[in-house]
C-alpha cells in the first residue's frame, strides 16, 4: 500500500501511527452519513485508520463476523451473474427490463498484484474517459473511485459494475438478499440504495472531472438479487435520487476532519500501543444505537457513553423525547423536581414531572384498583355495561 494522494489538503495519515490504511467501501461511506456529527469517526475515517483493529485492541471487537454460509452464497451468486462477461446480467437487462442492450465490452478493473490505488484509479479514469467519448456499451467491474469526504480524499472500492447504455452510465449492484414476489427486506433495500447513491456520486465526480456532463451518470441504478427462493437473478431498477440528496447534504455537513485534527493534542496517533485508549478518548464521539449496525467502534463508544450516563444510549427517540437532556442523572432529577431546570429545559422538565406523577399514581394504585374495583365495565356484569351503552 502506498501513501495517500499527494494532493490531499492536510495529510492525516500520521494519525495512523504507521499502521496500514483502510480503504473506504460503500458501507463505511453510507454509514458515515448515518452519524455525521461524530468527530471520532470522522477523524478515524479521514485518516483511513483501521477501526476494526483499533476496536479489537481496545477489547471491544466488533461483532461483524460473517457466516461462511452467507459468504459462500454471496460469492456464488455474484460469480454466476458475472460469469462469461456478465452474460447472465446482460440477458437479464435485455429480457426483464426490456433494455435495448447492444454488444458490450466487459472490463474487470480489480486490482492485479500490488498496484497502488492511484494507479488503479488512473486506469479507471482512463477507461471511463474512452467510454465517455465513444459512448459504446461498456461494463466496468470493480472500478476504483474517489470521493472527497470531510475534506479528505477517500478511495472507494465498490463491488459494483458501471454500465454504459446509450451514452449514460448506470450503477449495477449485485446483492445476495432475496426478492420474494417483488418484495425484499426494506432495510436491506434501503442500505443498497444508500450505497448505490454513494457510487453514483463518486462516478459523477469522475465524469465531471473528465469534462463531461455529470448527468451522464444516471440516478437510476439496477439492483440484481436472487429471485424468490432460487439462485436465479432478477433485476430491479431503483431511483436513488432521494438517497443522493441525503448523501450529498450529509457529506457537505460532515464535521471537517482537518478542523478536528487541528485541535487534537500534538503527536496523537491511533497506533496500536498502550496509548491507544487515551488517544481514542481524546476525540469526542457521538454514540447512538444505530452505530452498532455500521461502525466498528460502536461497542467501545457504547461502553463509554453508558459509563458517563448519556441518554443517547437509549436511542435517538428517547433523547428527542427528553428534549435534548443528555444526562440520565439530570433527566431523573428534573423528573423528581430536585433540580431547577434552566430556561431551555423548562418545558422538558414540566413534561418529566407530570410523567413521574402519572407513573406514581398508576403504579401506586394499580394493585388496589384491580382488586377492589374493576378498571373497565367488562369485568362488571355484562348487563350493567349494556345499560350504559344503550342509553349513551
Amino acid at each position: 500500500m502506498s501513501r495517500d494522494d499527494e494532493h490531499t489538503a492536510t495529510d492525516l495519515s500520521h494519525l495512523r501511527g504507521g499502521e496500514a490504511p483502510r480503504n473506504h467501501d460503500a458501507r463505511t461511506i453510507a454509514a458515515l452519513t448515518a452519524n455525521p456529527g461524530c468527530a471520532r469517526r470522522g477523524v478515524m475515517d479521514a485518516a483511513a485508520v483501521d477501526k476494526d483493529a483499533v476496536a479489537r485492541h481496545l477489547g471491544f471487537g466488533a461483532p461483524f463476523g460473517q457466516s461462511q454460509f452467507a459468504i459462500t452464497r454471496g460469492n456464488a451468486f455474484e460469480a454466476q451473474v458475472k460469469a462469461d462477461g456478465c452474460a447472465e446480467l446482460l440477458a437479464l437487462l435485455r429480457d426483464r427490463l426490456g433494455l435495448d442492450v447492444p454488444e458490450v465490452a466487459y472490463d474487470d478493473l480489480e486490482s492485479v498484484g500490488t498496484e497502488s490505488r492511484e494507479v488503479r484509479h488512473a486506469r479507471t479514469r482512463h477507461l471511463m474517459a474512452r467510454a465517455l467519448e465513444t459512448g459504446a456499451g461498456t461494463l466496468f467491474d470493480h472500478p476504483l473511485l474517489r470521493l472527497d469526504i470531510a475534506g479528505q480524499r477517500a478511495y472507494l472500492e465498490p463491488d459494483v459494475i458501471a454500465f454504459q447504455l446509450g451514452g449514460r452510465f448506470h450503477v449495477v449492484e449485485v446483492k445476495s438478499f432475496a426478492v420474494v414476489d417483488g418484495q425484499a427486506e426494506p432495510e436491506q433495500v434501503a442500505a443498497a440504495a444508500r450505497q448505490s447513491a454513494v457510487y453514483v456520486l463518486a462516478l459523477r465526480e469522475l465524469v465531471e472531472g473528465l469534462g463531461h456532463d455529470p448527468e451522464r451518470v444516471s440516478h437510476e441504478v439496477f439492483l440484481v438479487c436472487p429471485e424468490n427462493f432460487s439462485n436465479r437473478p432478477t433485476a430491479t431498477p431503483l431511483d436513488v435520487r432521494p438517497q443522493l440528496a441525503v448523501v450529498k447534504r450529509q457529506l457537505a455537513r460532515l464535521t471537517r476532519a482537518e478542523d478536528i485534527a487541528r485541535r487534537l493534542p500534538e503527536g496523537l496517533t491511533f497506533a496500536l500501543d498502550e496509548g491507544l485508549p487515551e488517544a481514542v478518548r481524546a476525540v469526542e464521539a457521538r454514540y447512538a444505537p444505530e452505530c452498532m449496525a455500521s461502525c466498528e467502534m460502536a461497542l467501545f463508544c457504547r461502553d463509554e457513553a453508558r459509563a458517563c450516563g448519556a441518554t443517547g444510549t437509549l436511542g435517538r427517540n428517547v433523547r428527542d423525547e427528553l428534549g435534548g437532556v443528555d444526562s440520565v442523572v439530570t433527566a431523573l432529577e428534573l423528573a423528581r423536581g430536585v433540580r431547577e431546570p434552566s430556561e431551555d429545559m423548562a418545558e422538558t422538565a414540566e413534561q418529566l414531572r407530570i410523567a413521574a406523577r402519572l407513573r406514581r399514581e398508576a403504579l401506586g394504585s394499580g394493585g388496589e384498583r384491580s382488586a377492589e374495583q374493576p378498571l373497565v365495565g367488562a369485568q362488571a356484569p355484562r348487563g350493567a355495561t349494556d345499560v350504559l351503552e344503550r342509553t349513551a
Binding site: Q68, R73, D181, E185, E321, I354, A355, R359, L388, T391
Partner: protein, 490 residues
C-alpha cells in the same frame, strides 16, 4: 415512544432493573401455546436449519435439516413441521359454540379455543412467513409431489403471519415485542431485540443486575442468539464442520446426530428463556378487554379452519379489494387496540393524560340530577366539577368518556385552569334521575378521555368479482401452476 416510556427507561437505568410500562397483561396467553424457535441457514432467504418446538417445556421436539441445501431433506423437515403444527391446530380447537345467527340468517360458529404459537422475535415471524410462502403452492401430485401436509403447513403459516400483522391479535406472539409492551429496560430498542438481553433486564439471574445480565446475554457463547439467524462464529467453527462431516459420511446417523447436537446447543438456552418469559407474562393479571380481542382471534381461526378445504392457497400478492379491506381492518384494529389498552390499564391511560387527550383528578362538586329543560322534553344532564393537575389539551365542547365505565359520556363545558366542568350526556339510564352509583360523587378520583375505541365503523368494499375497472377489474381465479410446484427452493 412517549416521555412516560422514556422516564421508565431512565428509572430502569437508575435501578438496574426493567420498569413496568403496563399494570395488566395486554395479550391472551393460552394454557398450551406452541413455542417455536426456528433457525435458518445464514445467507439464504428461507432455508430451514432447525426448529425446536412443543407445548411442553420439559419435552421439546427438535427438527433438523442435517444438510440445509438438500431439497429432499428440506421437504422432509417441512413435512415433520407440518405434522406438529397441524396436530396443534386440531388439539387446540376445542368444542364448537353455536352463536346467534347473523342478520341475514347465516349460521355462525366459534371454536372455544384457538391454537396459539409463540416465537422469540420478529425475525421468527418473518421466517415463518417466508416458509409459508415457499411451501403453500407445492403440488401433492405429479412429478414434484410433496407430502400433502406441506402445502397445508404453508397455508397455516401464512395465515399466522398475517394475524401477527394485526394489532391486538395473540395468535402468533413474538416474545420480545410482547415483553416490551409490558416492561421498559435501560437499553435501546435495538438491544431489546435480543431476547436474552431483554430478559436479563426484566428478570436477571440471582446475583446479577440488569446491565450485567444483558452484557452476558450479548456474548453469543454464553447465550446463543434466539434465531432465526445463527451466530457466525458458531456457523464457521461448529456447524460447517458438522455438516461437512455429514456430507462425507453419506448421511450416516452418527454424523446426523452431530449436527443435531450442535443446533440443540444453540436452541436449548432460548427454549428455556422463552418459557421463563411466558411465566413472567402469565404472572400479570389479564387486561379486561383481552378476552374480547381473543374472541376476534377465535373468529378468524374458526373461519379459516372451516373454509380450509374449499379455499385455494393465499395469493402471492393481495388483489385490490383484499388489499383495501386489509388496510382498513388494520387501521381499525390499531385504533381500537390502543383505546382498549388505555381503558384496561391506568399506566397506558397515563400516556393520553400526558398528551392532554385525557385528564384525571378529583370530583370537587356534582349536580347529579341537573336537567336541561331548554328543549321540548327535559333531558338528564348532570354537571361535574373535576380538579386536575393534568395538562388538558381539549377544547370546550369536546366529547369525553369515563375511563372506568366507557359508557358514561360527557361534554366539556368549561376549562378554568385546573378545573374542568363536565356535562354528562349519556350512560346514566333512561330515567330523569341517574341510576345509583353512576354519577361519580365528590371526593372520587375519575379519569375522562377523548379517545374512544369504536370511533369509526366498518367500511363496505365491493365483492371480489365486482372489482371496478379502475382497480384492474375482477382478478383472475387461482389456477395451480407447474411453475409454483417446481419453484426452486435452494
Amino acid at each position: 415512544m412517549s416521555t412516560l416510556t422514556a422516564l421508565a427507561q431512565l428509572e430502569a437505568l437508575a435501578t438496574g432493573r426493567a420498569q413496568p410500562v403496563a399494570t395488566v397483561r395486554h395479550c391472551h396467553l393460552s394454557e398450551k401455546p406452541l413455542v417455536m424457535i426456528p433457525l435458518k441457514l445464514a445467507g439464504e432467504a428461507a432455508a430451514p436449519l432447525a426448529t425446536m418446538l412443543g407445548t411442553d417445556r420439559d419435552a421439546p421436539e427438535l427438527l433438523v435439516v442435517p444438510q440445509p441445501r438438500n431439497r429432499d431433506l428440506r421437504f422432509a423437515y417441512a413435512a415433520e413441521l407440518a405434522k406438529a403444527v397441524l396436530a396443534h391446530v386440531e388439539a387446540e380447537r376445542g368444542a364448537t359454540e353455536t352463536l346467534e345467527p347473523s342478520k341475514d340468517g347465516e349460521e355462525r360458529f366459534r371454536y372455544e379455543r384457538a391454537p396459539q404459537i409463540v416465537v422469540p422475535n420478529r425475525g421468527g415471524v418473518g421466517f415463518l412467513r417466508l416458509l409459508g410462502r415457499s411451501t403453500r403452492f407445492r403440488s401433492t401430485e405429479g412429478p414434484w409431489a410433496v407430502d400433502p401436509a406441506v402445502p397445508m403447513l404453508g397455508r397455516w403459516l401464512t395465515w399466522y403471519a398475517d394475524r401477527n400483522d394485526r394489532p391486538g391479535s395473540s395468535l402468533l406472539l413474538t416474545l420480545t415485542e410482547t415483553l416490551r409492551l409490558h416492561w421498559a429496560t435501560g437499553q435501546s430498542s435495538l438491544e431489546d431485540g435480543n431476547l436474552g438481553a431483554l430478559m436479563g433486564w426484566i428478570d436477571p439471574p440471582d446475583g446479577m443486575d440488569g446491565p450485567s445480565a444483558a452484557a452476558r446475554a450479548e456474548d453469543p457463547v454464553a447465550c446463543p442468539p434466539a434465531g432465526p439467524t445463527t451466530d457466525p462464529t458458531f456457523d464457521n467453527e461448529v456447524l460447517a464442520p458438522a455438516i461437512a462431516a455429514y456430507d462425507e459420511s453419506g448421511g450416516a446417523p452418527r454424523a446426523e446426530e452431530r449436527v443435531r447436537a450442535a443446533v440443540a446447543s444453540q436452541l436449548r438456552p432460548t427454549w428455556d428463556l422463552a418459557w421463563r418469559a411466558l411465566d413472567l407474562l402469565r404472572a400479570l393479571p389479564e387486561g379486561a378487554s383481552v378476552p374480547r380481542r381473543w374472541e376476534r382471534d377465535r373468529d378468524s381461526f374458526t373461519y379459516f379452519h372451516r373454509e380450509f378445504a374449499e379455499n385455494p392457497p393465499q395469493a402471492k400478492l393481495d388483489d385490490a379489494v383484499r388489499a383495501a379491506r386489509r388496510l382498513h381492518d388494520l387501521e381499525r384494529s390499531q385504533e381500537s387496540y390502543e383505546a382498549q389498552r388505555a381503558f384496561d390499564d391506568p399506566l397506558v391511560m397515563a400516556e393520553q393524560r400526558l398528551a392532554g387527550q385525557a385528564f384525571g383528578g378529583v370530583v370537587t362538586a356534582a349536580d347529579p340530577t341537573r336537567l336541561d329543560e331548554s328543549g321540548k322534553r327535559p333531558k338528564l344532564r348532570p354537571h361535574l366539577w373535576i380538579r386536575t393537575e393534568d395538562p388538558v389539551r381539549l377544547d370546550e365542547g369536546a366529547t369525553v368518556v369515563n375511563a372506568a365505565r366507557p359508557g358514561l359520556k360527557g361534554r366539556i363545558v368549561e376549562i378554568d385552569g385546573g378545573d374542568v366542568l363536565l356535562e354528562l350526556t349519556g350512560g346514566m339510564g333512561r330515567k330523569l334521575t341517574p341510576e345509583a352509583g353512576v354519577v361519580p360523587e365528590p371526593g372520587l378520583e375519575v379519569v375522562f378521555t377523548s379517545r374512544t375505541s369504536d370511533s369509526w365503523g366498518a367500511a363496505k368494499f365491493p365483492e371480489r368479482d365486482d372489482t371496478p375497472w379502475t382497480h384492474g377489474g375482477p382478478p383472475a381465479e387461482y389456477e395451480p401452476a407447474d411453475e409454483d410446484a417446481t419453484e426452486v427452493w435452494s
